[in-house]
């Protein structure tokens, strides 16, 4: 009887009955598949992105074609599915083409700022000492201004236009991404496992690639993806103030601004660009939350 119990307590080498994903990214995919909210948000974003990219192919009206007699038609008007704006231009076409500008303004500055700021922050955090002081104090100078104010100031100096708007937004995001990267890298590289790696005689770049980056890249990407929505909103704000995109180029923020006087006459038309900004930025935010959870091996 006792022998039997002992036998049960110590089984011979069991086969691995827990199915293990093949790799880290395999595990991320498995966890994402179990998260419907993130998947739905990703699907909405994918749909928006596809429509926006293939805008010329889906048979929309000319977003620049004005018509004095067809101003502020309500949504559902024949020929104008979402109605028209204050100059009689098709709102659906303008929303789709405006999405091109808005998504570009949301995505590109964050991408460039992540590459630049992330590199600066990781180098500063890993190197420490004088390099850290030099980089981070410079960053602090930019960080002293609130981000919207800084964007307004930069594009005010540089002038309006898409290119200057992109530049202003990029400069606004570099400090915050650099700072987050630096603090994550600093935290990771003071852990015992980095010391243990150092004790194997590994060179600093081997430790950086093999141990530090793996712990640092995912949180930085998650932080950056949460900035995309902020970038869209700030870009819209710049246009609203007349500093970003210049009319007649369609852009969600600018459309919100020019439709504002019509809010009492045609509230639905006036609200639509705002709805697009809201839906897109919220989907980006919820998707980045989902990615953060999926990238955590402990989940």
């Amino acid at each position: 009887m006792t022998d039997r119990a002992l036998e049960l307590a110590a089984p011979e080498t069991p086969r691995s009955w827990v199915r293990r994903p093949a790799s880290y990214w395999g595990g991320v995919a498995t966890r994402l598949a179990r998260d419907p909210v993130t998947l739905i948000c990703a699907a909405i974003l994918l749909a928006i992105v596809l429509v926006v990219i293939f805008a010329p192919l889906i048979g929309l009206d000319d977003p620049y074609q004005q018509s004095v007699v067809r101003r502020l038609k309500p949504p559902g008007t024949p020929g104008h599915l979402l109605g028209t704006d204050e100059l009689g231009r098709d709102l659906l076409a303008r929303l789709v083409y405006g999405g091109r500008t808005s998504l570009l303004m949301g995505f590109l500055p964050v991408l460039i700022a992540t590459l630049v700021g992330g590199t600066l922050g990781i180098v500063a955090g890993y190197a420490g000492g004088l390099i850290n002081t030099a980089v981070m104090r410079t960053i602090d100078v930019f960080y002293a201004f609130p981000s919207v104010l800084l964007a307004v100031a930069i594009s005010g100096v540089l002038g309006g236009g898409v290119r200057n708007g992109l530049l202003a937004l990029t400069l606004v995001f570099i400090p915050s991404i650099a700072r987050v990267s630096e603090s994550i890298t600093m935290h990771v590289s003071t852990q015992d496992f980095v010391d243990a790696a150092r004790a194997t005689g590994a060179y600093p770049h081997q430790i950086l690639i093999g141990h530090v980056l793996k712990n640092v890249v995912a949180p930085i990407l998650v932080f950056a993806s949460s900035l995309i929505s902020i970038s869209i909103v700030i870009a819209a704000g710049l246009s609203f103030l007349g500093l970003g995109v210049a009319p007649p180029i369609p852009e969600w923020g600018l459309m919100l601004s020019t439709l504002r006087p019509a809010i009492y006459v045609a509230p639905l038309n006036a609200v639509l660009p705002g709805v697009m900004i809201f839906v897109t930025s919220m989907c980006f935010n919820m998707m980045s939350d989902g990615f953060r959870n999926a990238m955590d091996v402990k989940a």
Binding site: T13, P14, R15, S16, R20, Y24, Q191, D192, F193, D195, A196, A197, R198, A199, T200, G201, A202, Y203, Q206, G210, H211, K214, N215, V297, K298
Partner: protein
């Protein structure tokens, strides 16, 4: 250089075969620390008058081949800094390290790296010392990989050391650290150190964070590995009973200085330094009738920034006299292989407790 387990019967009695890597011969200590000093400069204050923490001050000792040297002392006495100096994670301000007859030069030459790999360390915090994003196999294989092993050879090696510490690679190789218990994690840390093929293992409070039954298992594993792989240990702990169980010789540190060093039985049965006596009497007795009411030692240890003149222990020592304030005691012989740094135990020191 695959770790192959020798047959169990052979290791039980026979003395360990001479290690082919042995350079200096059996009498040459594995590691000699010669007047190691590490001072940390605190930030703040004007550059000329910054406070200096004398974490380790002219510490000299040797670690003999095949032994376990226990290092004990209160927190903040420099145990961990000493460990980091031995493994090369911290550069000493002055002093020298001699590994098996070869001096470890404080520059990053190739020879230094090779020596460094012969000394490995197991850290106290079993969780922080494993990369949370790497599987155990990836963590263990990292060391061999950077030493130039191929991917396959490094994986092979990781699996063989996992087996060596009693973890089945089929079950554990692809797990992440958070999926293990504390004891299992510490086994992985030991495996990671062993993967480098070290001759000297520094165990810095390696079992202190484990609960008692797991601690005993890991201690037994360490003893077994030491015999099988003819390792040498430096065993750092604040747990005096565990040190007695593990060590052949014990080194007692106080405020960055060595106060006493000797064979484990002499230190525990006939301590010569008043600090060692106080430390030993702070152990709890298993007998409730021997309940202790008076603390063996009062107060906090003095600051390392401004240590007392002369003997650093004099501010808390019952035997302190004028000479202790004036002159720092050197380590002096207290019988065979036993050294203590106390005027009261050194004839001719001028202390009232000994004949002049």
């Amino acid at each position: 250089m695959v770790v192959s387990a020798p047959p169990a019967a052979a290791t039980a009695e026979a003395p360990p075969a001479p290690d082919p890597r042995d350079v200096g011969g059996p009498r040459q200590p594995m590691l000699i620390a010669e007047r190691l000093t590490k001072h940390f400069t605190l930030r703040g204050g004007s550059p000329g008058r910054r406070a200096v923490v004398r974490a380790v001050d002219e510490v000299s000792f040797d670690v003999r081949k095949g032994e376990t040297l226990g290092i004990v002392g209160e927190s903040g006495c420099g145990k961990s800094t000493t460990a980091r100096l031995l493994i090369g994670l911290t550069r000493p301000d002055s002093g020298a390290l001699v590994f098996d007859g070869e001096e470890v030069v404080a520059s990053s030459g190739v020879a230094v790296r090779r020596l460094q790999r012969s000394v490995q360390m197991v850290f106290q915090d079993s969780y922080a010392s494993l990369n949370p994003r790497l599987t155990l196999q990836e963590t263990i294989a990292f060391g061999p990989r950077v030493c130039g092993d191929s991917r396959a050879a490094a994986r092979e090696r990781a699996q063989s050391v996992l087996r060596l510490v009693g973890l089945d690679p089929a079950l554990f190789a692809r797990r992440y650290p958070h999926e293990l218990s504390g004891g299992q994690r510490q086994r992985v840390n030991i495996a990671r150190a062993l993967a480098m093929g070290p001759r000297l293992l520094i165990l810095d409070e390696a079992v202190s964070a484990l609960d008692k039954s797991i601690e005993a298992q890991v201690l037994n594993l360490l003893q077994e590995l030491k015999a099988r792989l003819s390792l040498t240990y430096v065993f750092i702990s604040h747990d005096l009973n565990v040190v007695r169980f593990m060590s052949e010789r014990v080194l007692v540190m106080y405020l960055g200085k060595v106060v006493e060093v000797g064979p484990v039985d002499r230190i525990y049965d006939n301590p010569r330094h008043p600090y060692t006596r106080a430390l030993l009497s702070s152990r709890l007795s298993m007998n409730p009738r021997e309940r202790r009411t008076i603390p063996p030692l009062a107060g906090e240890p003095p600051s390392l920034i401004d240590p007392p003149s002369g003997c650093r222990f004099r501010t808390r020592c019952a035997l302190a006299e004028g000479i202790c304030r004036a002159v720092a005691p050197a380590l002096s012989a207290q019988g065979e292989d036993h050294l203590a740094a106390c005027h009261a135990a050194t004839p001719g020191s001028g202390h009232g407790a000994v004949a002049a």
